[in-house]
Amino acid sequence: MSDTLLKVRDLKIGATVYPPGEKPHDIEIVHGVSFDLERGKVLGLIGESGAGKSTIGLASMAYGRGGVEITGGEVWVNGRDILKTSTGDIRKLRGGEVTYVSQSAAASFNPAKKIMDQVVEAAVEQKKFSRKEAEARARELFAKLGLPDPDNIGDRYPHQVSGGQLQRCMTALALCPEPDLVVFDEPTTALDVTTQIDVLMAIKEAIADTGVAALYITHDLAVVAQVSDDIMVLRMGNTVEYGHTDQIINNPQEEYTQALVSVRSIEHEEKKPTPEPVLSVEGITARYKGLNFDVLHNVNVDLHPGQTLAVVGESGSGKSTLARVITGLLPPRDGEITFAGRKLSADLKGRTREDLRELQMIYQMADVAMNPRQTVGTIIGRPLEFYFNMRGAEKRKRIIELLDEIELGETFIDRYPAELSGGQKQRVCIARSLAAKPKMIICDEVTSALDPLVADGILKLLLDLQKIEDVAYLFITHDLATVRAISDSIAVMYQGRVVRYGSKSEVLSPPFDDYTDLLLSSVPEMHLGWLEEVVAHRKMESAGN
């Protein structure tokens, strides 16, 4: 008997789309993909959004999300084609033979039920274990996955544990029924880098210990290189390249794979600080209404004209709060902000129209930052009317200029946001902020929701625009590769404090403080065995202390 657990042949998946102004119609999103997975092995599915990787992962459970339907091909699990089997058999497959770990455990756990109830549910429902056995097994898995207080953590509700812990609970949920295959769908993408390492290691060890096979879906090649035996690179529903991990990482054959491996080609020469900063943040301490502790403690940073200050930190570090203070949305308890040589009112209401115009903002989620019922022309034209009182032909000419600057062109002027790709939407948001002719733009995680190659394009554009418009960026991000690519100076934030601040070369050169060291060493690197090296190194260090 062959050891093949999952055999996928010529898998085709379709979906119904509802484009604005058109009749709904069916499109194919996966165009005939084939692969094999042996028992106990890990196959990495990698690609950008829209590559069909999650869709393929869910197809191994005979599941289509939303209007997605499997239209052709074969999916063999444990020797039978699950696309042709009965509904009852599929229910035995889901949660019994194949289980699923989603990207956001926070959303995938039912907020109204205790963690333990949810972790053991599939195992009990599938009659694999009695409730008691399943709970014992769950506690074992909690311990194996390095969760604190494994005997009692199951009694908590999902909101009572942290995001990283919940992601581990989700892994326990998937492993509890002793499945043959686990589909990991971006299990660490929503986590901070320093948390990602622990979860990644926990998942890897759990796979090795239980001998379960896994489909590991991610957009991050460096991550998948750490856990998988084989890798399949997907693009727009087609297989680009399929081979051993070693071959894909070290000797990619296809141009697209090579681009993925060598992403982050942007080089940016650091500029020297000028005598007169455009923005000066002095001694800012802030807290949210109703909280009895400060979320920012005595923050001091400067931003120089035409330069980029990267504010880097993990979730909860206070970096977005700093942006809210600078924009006036959250008046600080203490400290002051000087902008373009004048003191800014702490409260948004006290700011002049000129203050508002010269300080613009771009957001992480471009699609919710635009009115879906307005055309691109209206969206970009609004600040032109508001700040410069432009009308008619003059306004249109300026909109077209801006569209050219963001490399989209005049043809986009009458389109709606829904007709744009993620990268194009973000470009429109950039044009809207530039329309105000600002001295400074706050960029809040503007590339985090984008695929790496698209994000690279946006960063290049921002750097080019900085040269033309001489605008300064306060660039908020959690991604250190982005920081390297774009910044002139860096502020590292941790728990509401700036723990390291200086020019890019200073901040990124040793000797490091503990936190910056941890942050820098946690960024996955594109070589095999990196994960083990880091973990071993950390164990040694903590043993040495």
Binding site: L58, R94, G95, S104, A107, N110, A122, Y157, H159, L173
Partner: protein
């Protein structure tokens, strides 16, 4: 202090404040009506002297504010005043009537709430297929027809033609529970048909909303059946909006049954109120108004509190 206790006591305090406001509004509005109790009592015999005498006697000459607080003080002690028309203690007459209304509302709720939620669940399970469409069509039809019409149609077809149940919903203390239920069967059916649609549609909408969430997908990928997914994972998260609309409808069952009570000649609060409004019996109208307001506010307060308790983040803080 546990945040739940704080939130719930806030709700309770707000509820009482609201009730106080409602009582002032009701009193103020009846004050603003032309004519007063003295005129109503005297009617045709209202000579200026007789009016002045009676006003003196009834204390109507004193400032409205004083009378309001006297009236309010009486209510707090359970004294609703005396009816102008039959000189009976209002609390006593209302007590009996209110009991009857609550009895009818209770049984209508016992039938309609579980039925509405069950139909809502069924509609979600078969969404956009024929059972869903049939449930929506039928409930929307029954809510669209005026309740007196449904009432008379039922009386004619069920009671008169088929000879089932009593066409008149008379009840008294000497009847057994079975006899009483037989007697109120038709009004219960009418009320159920009236309130079913709201609650069913809200249940359907609230659960469908929750069905989009990632945790429902997780449940589906555990191999649970559709019904297990809906009642184990979707329903507990849809409780708050459902309870809200259920409470609104329960309030309607108590406060809004006037028409149905009249159709079936049922001795409840509705009939009592209508009778005394036509006789301009202000104290009775005031008393009924306050009782209705109290029931309305009370039920909505319960809905708020249930919504707070249904939120695991509030029930189990970090």
């Amino acid at each position: 202090m546990h945040p739940i206790i704080k939130l719930v006591s806030q709700r309770l305090a707000l509820g009482f404040l609201l009730l106080f406001g409602a009582s002032a509004l009701i009193f103020g509005l009846t004050e603003a009506l032309p004519g007063d109790a003295a005129q109503a009592v005297l009617g045709q015999a209202a000579t200026p002297e007789a009016l002045a005498n009676l006003r003196e006697e009834m204390g109507l000459n004193r400032p409205a504010l004083t009378r309001y607080f006297e009236w309010l003080g009486g209510i707090v002690q359970g004294d609703l005043g005396t009816s102008l028309t039959n000189k009976l203690d209002i609390a006593e007459s209302v007590g009996n009537r209110l009991g009857n209304t609550l009895f009818l509302a209770f049984w209508a709720a016992i039938v309609s709430v579980p039925l509405a939620i069950f139909l809502g669940l069924l509609a979600v399970r078969y969404r956009n297929r024929w059972p869903d469409k049939l449930i929506s069509a039928v409930t929307l039809t029954t809510i669209s027809i005026p309740e007196f019409l449904i009432g008379y149609v039922l009386v004619y077809f069920v009671a008169v033609k088929l000879g089932m149940f009593s066409p008149l919903a008379m009840i008294n203390d000497s009847m057994t529970l079975g006899q009483k239920l037989n007697s109120i069967a038709l009004p219960v059916i009418v009320l159920t048909l009236v309130v079913l649609a709201h609650m069913m549609r809200m249940t359907r909408a609230a659960i469908l909303n929750v069905m989009q969430s990632a945790y429902v997908e997780t449940a589906e990928l555990k191999g649970l059946s559709n019904f297990q997914v809906i009642y184990r994972h979707a329903f507990p998260n849809a409780v708050a909006p459902i309870v809200n609309v259920v409470m609104l409808n329960l309030a309607y069952l108590v406060v809004g049954v006037v028409v149905v009570e009249v159709v079936f000649v049922y001795p409840g609060m509705g009939q009592y109120l209508v009778d005394h409004v036509t006789k301009r019996d202000v104290p009775v109208v005031l008393a009924c108004g306050v009782i209705f307001a109290a029931i309305y506010i009370g039920l909505n307060m319960v809905a708020d509190i249930v919504a707070i308790l249904a939120n695991p983040r509030l029930r189990h803080p970090k």
